[in-house]
Amino acid sequence: MDAAMNRAMRAVAPLAPFTAAALAAALLFAAFLAAQGFEAPEALGLVVEGAFGSAFAWQNTLARAAPLMLTALCVALPARAGLVIIGGEGALALGALAAAMVPSLTAGWPALPVQLLMALAGFVAGGAWIAASAWLRHVRGINETISSLLLSYIGIALFNFLVEGVLRDPASLNKPSTPPLPDAVLIGPLPGLEVHWGLVWGVLACAAAWFLLRRTVFGFSVGVVGGNPRAALMAGLPVGALLIAACFLGGGAAGVAGMLEVAAVHGSANASLLAGYGYAGILVSFAARHNPLGIVAGAILVGGIGASGSLLQRRLDLPDAAVLVLQGALFVALLAFETLNRKGARRV
């Protein structure tokens, strides 16, 4: 009986910090609402109802989560190589722009090859942008966090310049956009659902990233570089190439997120698709401790907060800022309890 008990305890133990964090966040948010004169229990009920309370709520959550999985990989993959990359928004912008250009060059092709080529174009454009930060880091010793952020601003400026300039569809008067994609090329919803195929792409990309990092020699080498670049050099690993490759793959994922925004949501590249997914991905990746499978859950959590925030606003007349308080409370609690947990783990 003791053995069974032990096993049960061990299975449940890892859940404890996360559960505690969720409860702490709920308490913090409830206290905040009570201080503002709102019915806290009702509000917490709405948080759950809005995010996970019905089939519609789940789809609402998943639709918001889909792009975050890919942009979080733009943080998680370089993180494995020891780099902190925060420029995913720029990679997403350029990926979107590159993808939006493809259909005009492939007129008359069947849809699937065009879509794949769009994804490839997005992947390469986003990948190259983030890889540039890794290259600067390796060759010139430039801090990749700063350079990726600054390159991201340049990427966004380039996006706006081209969308409002040479690539602009003259018919897009008050919302400068690239020419609309042909209907055949648009990516539709999953069968029977209101969520587009980007969700499947995101989950598959996270699974592939997990496999790559955890089950391949490449992933192991990247991990060695991330653990200790000097030791990796001594061991004869091509450190520069590995840094660049990890960043290229991460940036590529963000680029594909941009391509999906074009093909599945907006139907063209325009400034509306720069809605901060690249930045939200940083949050998701850190919350998931850069674990690609954890990212799937983290993205659903952030998507869920978006969905419940929507319901909170409509039912309680809360301002959007209150939803930010909930998100902040949740992530601070998560990180705090995570730290406690890790201290314990180290002692063992």
Binding site: P14, A22, R289, H290, N291, A297, S310
Partner: protein, 374 residues
């Protein structure tokens, strides 16, 4: 800091999933808030409702809707122009039973509103700014907008009258037709007072960039500009900067008079209550959706802010005279001969473009006297 450990693998995932389970275990069961006997109207804003600008102007009209009998309003602010706005519209329809939705940001129209309108043919969608086109767009969609360039022209009169340097400044988001039309109308109003007045334009590149807007304001003032106005989502920073630097300002979207008690001359404000009420009334009466609704001063879609203390009696008189002509409907702003600022004729001599002229909806030039580039 970058030394992240990857030791936990499966445990991490279980932990994250666990939190989901923990959260879903919380008690819930709140019923629908929508009242069955009332018309539920959903309103979606792209920014905060209290931004002293675009969104506040919409919210002021919504405040009037809330007082209408038989109407219940649900609102959501800071909704980006992505899949999020589609989900918000669907949530209003499914969770709140809304049957009329005001999507107030320009970028919501294509593809988001159009997509939802096709999916929910029994729900009405009113969009601010778009150009609803018969045969092309669904019948349950309508777009409303106002000829606010009329108020910009009046601003121009007040600005050029108050200015000593006769250099006026305009901070704008993007060089799109609606914005260019405002800049040009402001210049033409100013030139009606002083034919040598100029308007210097700075485009910031996006609708809400407070830091860039403040920099642009300071830069223009440093160059000798002594009246500032703008076309960005929230004029707050620009009007405040002007006041602090001791120059005049004209507002936009809503009244910013409170932010600049000394230097606020007047402003171009929306009066969205007019179209909002019309659309809601049509819905309540079961009449077809109002598909295309536009108007200017005389239709009550736009209004000038009350004059500030710095406006001279003479300027007031000029402005009131033009306003009276506009209210009668015989004051076209754009008429030939009109040159753009590269010297090209954009409206030939003798040609007059009425406010409703579709040519004005695709304006792509800055008129002579505006310093700047599209």
């Amino acid at each position: 800091m970058a030394q992240t450990r990857f030791s936990a693998g499966r445990r991490d995932i279980l932990r994250i999933l666990g939190s989901g389970a923990a959260v879903s275990a919380l008690p819930f069961g709140i019923g629908l808030a929508g009242a069955a006997d009332k018309l539920v109207v959903g309103v979606i804003y792209v920014g905060p409702r209290d931004d002293f600008g675009y969104n506040q102007a919409q919210a002021q009209a919504v405040a009037a809707l809330k007082k209408m009998p038989g109407v219940k309003v649900v609102e959501e602010e800071k909704v980006p122009e992505t899949v999020a706005v589609q989900k918000t519209m669907e949530a209003m329809i499914n969770q709140d039973k809304a049957s009329l939705i005001f999507a107030t940001s320009f970028g919501y129209f294509d593809p988001h509103v159009l997509k939802m309108a096709e999916k929910y043919p029994n729900v009405r969608f009113a969009h601010c700014g778009g150009l609803w086109t018969a045969g092309k767009h669904p019948k349950n969609v309508g777009s409303f907008f106002g000829y606010i360039d009329e108020c910009q022209y009046l601003d121009g009169i007040a600005a050029a009258s108050a200015s000593k340097s006769k250099k006026l400044g305009f901070i704008a988001a993007k060089p799109i037709p609606q914005v260019l039309r405002n800049i040009n109308a402001f210049l033409l109003g100013a030139r009606s007072v002083d034919p040598k007045a100029t308007v210097k334009v700075i485009f910031t590149g996006d609708w809400s960039l407070p830091v860039k807007e403040a920099e642009a304001a300071n830069s223009l003032i440093d160059q000798g500009v002594d009246v500032l106005t703008c076309h960005v989502d929230s004029p707050k920073v620009i009007v405040e900067t002007a006041e602090r630097r001791g120059v005049y300002s004209c507002g936009y979207h809503a009244s910013q008079a409170k932010l600049a008690p000394k230097g606020y001359l007047t402003g171009a404000e929306w009066d969205w209550q007019t179209p909002y009420t019309q659309i809601v009334k049509a819905t309540l009466d079961g009449k077809p959706m109002v598909n295309f609704l536009r108007g200017g001063l005389k239709d009550g879609f736009v209004k000038p802010s009350p004059f500030g203390p710095a406006v001279s009696a003479e300027a007031k008189k000029k402005s009131e005279a033009v306003k009276a002509a506009m209210l009668k409907g015989d004051f076209p702003i754009f008429k030939g001969p009109l040159l753009d600022n590269t010297g090209k004729t954009v409206i030939a001599a003798g040609k007059v473009l009425g406010q409703q002229d579709p040519l004005l909806e695709s304006m792509n030039y800055l008129v002579d006297g505006v310093i700047g580039q599209v």
